[in-house]
Point group: C2
Chain length 510, copies 2
């Protein structure tokens, strides 16, 4: 048995576990590939302060085969970085920082390229240009999965019509479908949460691109990078940070490596652990580190700064919903930021109710994480669980046991965080940390109360209208009867009917 | 931005994404640690043909801190293999083969050790002995997460009371809970699917171990290793196999590298791709490889051999259910093996209905993969989805829209496969491949029909009993009335009552 023990490269691992990356079916593979490209492009544009102009195309190249391309007007990528960014799993700039962005793992786009290579044998092709004064480069890459390293197949300079930007092209085995899990639906939901982006989509066999127009010229507030918060740190991580820090003294270590720790607080933490502020971080023993953790947990430290988060905001949520969904009632709630395991996050909920929405189906749920729509694994997602665990009956909706509520409603749920805890590398569902579920429930309850006021009012109005219609029906007969009994003239009878109708009208307004 | 681009070690990745490995809450962390230890121990014993004797202990060592140990009587581990097996992620013997086993990724136990190290700073301690004639070794290890490599802290020879076996000890931050997600519940469910194992569990603060007795001295049928099936291979993998194969000719390449391909079939595949049987595998171009794939898909090839699978079996399923759950009806179905993406798998379903089970709750679902109980992420699991998508109303159960059926029932679902497609590295839920869902639905329908026959019969019997009780009530009155009207004697009246009761008795038996 011992002879069979061996190392598994991360690419081999994901080749065999492709469903972990969202490539478990040909339909999903096509969508995931586009999603990874679009995520990267939007991140790149926003980081560079550029309003994103994206072109997405899906071109059939054979039986269940497509060539997918995503082009952006972002800052471009330096030539020598291209092979590893696109041809190596677990490589990137977003993993080692705490800042809200779509990508965070350094896996997505390389995995899409690897899937293409696996199913068609074709390399991933990247074109990129960083400035007008430099030429554009074209690379064709494959991944050596045994080593998880890029192999450059072609490397040429090419003419390019844009001054800056990146284009990624992947040929893959896939299936193009319409409906809820279509490319179009995904792009529509993306546009809903990213009104500052303009996206042109050329679907397979189409003559004209489908255009999602930019609805706002305002870039989202820039999300800033933050340092870890002391409450999120455990012994093991602290020991590593102590070993790797450039700080010479324990006090300055705490001040420079963590957010929300000033001189006074640093001294208090160090003294609480019965250590000296001047001790060298490298000399702190595991036992002393444990005392430091205890001291941190006993010290009141302000919540992490929240300028690392960039939520959509209630106003823009409402505007987006009004734009896209015809309904009678719209509601939105953006909660204040909260923290799970030291990571700031923020929950937002928007609902649209009534109107043309179907009345006897389960409510529709749109899930988002850092403005990216989540299309799969709804059942395993904390955002879905929160909806399920809320008692919607008390807000006037029907709800079966263990099921989503039913009624004419769309619920949009967004989590923004410096580190979204996805349940798998495919980033399709959010893990159920207690703090996240709690915030979500509070947001849903808030919006639920708004909704129930609307539903109650609407129901009251409907009841009154029904009652009135019922009475109205009898007024002429009452008139005729009175005419008969009291011997009223035609004119008198008409007057009685008018008076009765008037009374009814007035009572309705009360 | 370019300067920030860098490699991410797989240990760093999982440190930040610990929920992917099942360490997102302290309760779950404790359970996952035990699970990884038990999985490894059961695999090791079965592979060596040894009936497993396991000792599991959880000992409190402070506030929310526990020392977990799992000891087995397996074959032990060679000294020089220990550091990497326990101190390096993505290292192991089970990944590179196609064979049913609990472990498959080479992540689990090292990840548990890493979590312990992270939360308590303590190393993972391994003791192992491979034979009576050799001493036992004790290792204390930590993982260097920046490099994903083991660092040996201690390496000593120690006396050991067992001739062979392995003991793993991890100290970690955790929470010990009772109920559905408790260690006890997990071990009970493990025993249900592994009647050949004896498990002694010493919980925190207990004086006596809880013993799950061995119910069968028969080891499960040995699952054999198989080669990949041609239907599961795509261009990219084929190209790599062609490059790495030792076969000199295309024909022998197909015969030796794949299951179910003999000489005739190999020739037919090669000719179907317009290639020569004598071509060297290394010389096959990507285009030719594509033609080979096409030819494979157009050729009828027998389903993969199924001796690589070792299901529990209908008989043992029924016995286990009868042993553990008091009910009125038991049913079990083991489907024939099927294939997803070239990987053989097999679905089994067992149900227990009625008896003491609660009547007005949703049915209970026990999920298993390769005999391992799955305790979390039910909502995201294909095994759950299959249950949800079955129309239980037609089998006589109540079922709300989008919800599990309700009724006095436990459903046990097992998937056995050479490669279970888990939705994340924590192996908590099965990915929804169409073939798996289809097989599961067929199994549920089969067992559903058995169940509905039982429910119908039970209902009929109940109705008849109710009707009879109703009539019985009136027989004495009828007797008295007849006595009155016809002037019957006391004796005659009694005879009438006896006759009527007799008639009723007889009619009940029809």
């Amino acid at each position: 048995m011992a002879a069979q023990q061996r190392e598994i490269s991360v690419s081999e691992f994901f080749t065999k576990n492709r469903h972990l990356l969202g490539f478990d079916s040909p339909t999903k593979a096509l969508l995931t590939t586009i999603k990874e490209g679009v995520d990267n492009s939007l991140d790149a544009c926003e980081e560079a302060g550029i309003l994103p102009d994206l072109e997405v195309s899906v071109e059939p190249t054979g039986n269940n085969r497509f060539r997918v391309a995503v082009t952006d007007n972002g800052p471009g990528i330096l030539k020598n970085q291209i092979p590893r960014i696109f041809g190596k799993l677990l490589y990137g700039s977003k993993f080692h920082r705490l800042r809200q962005s779509r990508g965070q793992q350094g896996i997505g786009i390389s995995a899409a390229g690897m899937y293409g290579q696996l199913t068609t044998g074709k390399p991933i092709v990247i074109e990129s240009r960083t400035s007008k004064r430099r030429p554009a480069h074209r690379y064709a890459l494959v991944i050596d999965t045994r080593r998880n390293e890029p192999v450059v197949k072609k490397d040429t300079e090419i003419p390019w019509d844009r001054a800056r930007g990146t284009r990624v092209e992947i040929e893959l085995e896939g299936v193009h479908k319409r409906g809820r899990h279509s490319v179009e639906a995904y792009l529509r939901q993306t546009a809903l949460a990213n009104p500052h982006a303009e996206i042109h989509y050329m679907g397979p066999g189409e003559d004209e691109p489908l255009v999602f127009r930019r609805a706002s010229k305002k870039l989202p507030e820039e999300a800033l990078e933050i340092k870890p918060h002391p409450y999120g740190v455990e012994v093991g991580l602290l020991l590593r940070m102590l070993k790797e820090s450039k700080a010479r003294k324990l006090k300055s270590f705490l001040q420079t490596e963590f957010s929300r720790v000033g001189a006074t607080l640093a001294t208090r933490i160090v003294e609480g652990a019965e250590l000296k502020t001047t001790t060298s971080p490298r000399r702190v023993s595991p036992e002393a580190a444990e005392r430091l953790i205890c001291s941190i947990r006993q010290t009141r430290i302000a919540a992490p700064p929240t300028d690392c988060l960039s939520p959509i905001g209630e106003e823009r949520l409402l505007a987006s919903l009004r734009e896209q969904i015809k309904a009678d009632f719209y509601g939105a709630v953006t909660r204040s930021p909260s923290v799970y395991r030291g990571n700031p996050f923020q929950i937002e909920v928007g609902v649209a109710f009534g109107g043309d929405l179907p009345t006897d189906e389960l409510v529709g749920l749109y899930r988002y994480a850092n403005r990216v729509p989540l299309l799969y694994q709804q059942g395993g997602c904390a955002l879905h669980k929160g909806l399920l665990a809320t008692n919607w009956k008390s807000y006037g909706l029907q709800q079966g046991r263990g099921a989503l509520p039913s009624g004419p409603m769309i619920v949009m749920v967004h989590i923004a965080s410096v580190w979204v805890p996805f349940t798998s590398e495919s980033k399709e569902a959010v893990a159920g940390y207690d703090e996240i579920i709690k915030e979500l429930k509070l947001a849903l309850q808030q919006v639920g109360r708004q909704l129930s006021t609307h539903i109650r009012r609407a129901r009251k109005a409907r009841d009154a209208a029904r009652k009135q219609a019922y009475i109205e029906q009898y007024i002429p007969h009452v008139g005729i009867a009175l005419q008969d009994i009291l011997g009223l003239s035609e004119r008198q009878e008409k007057k009685v009917v008018t008076t009765l109708t008037g009374t009814l009208e007035r009572s309705r307004k009360v």
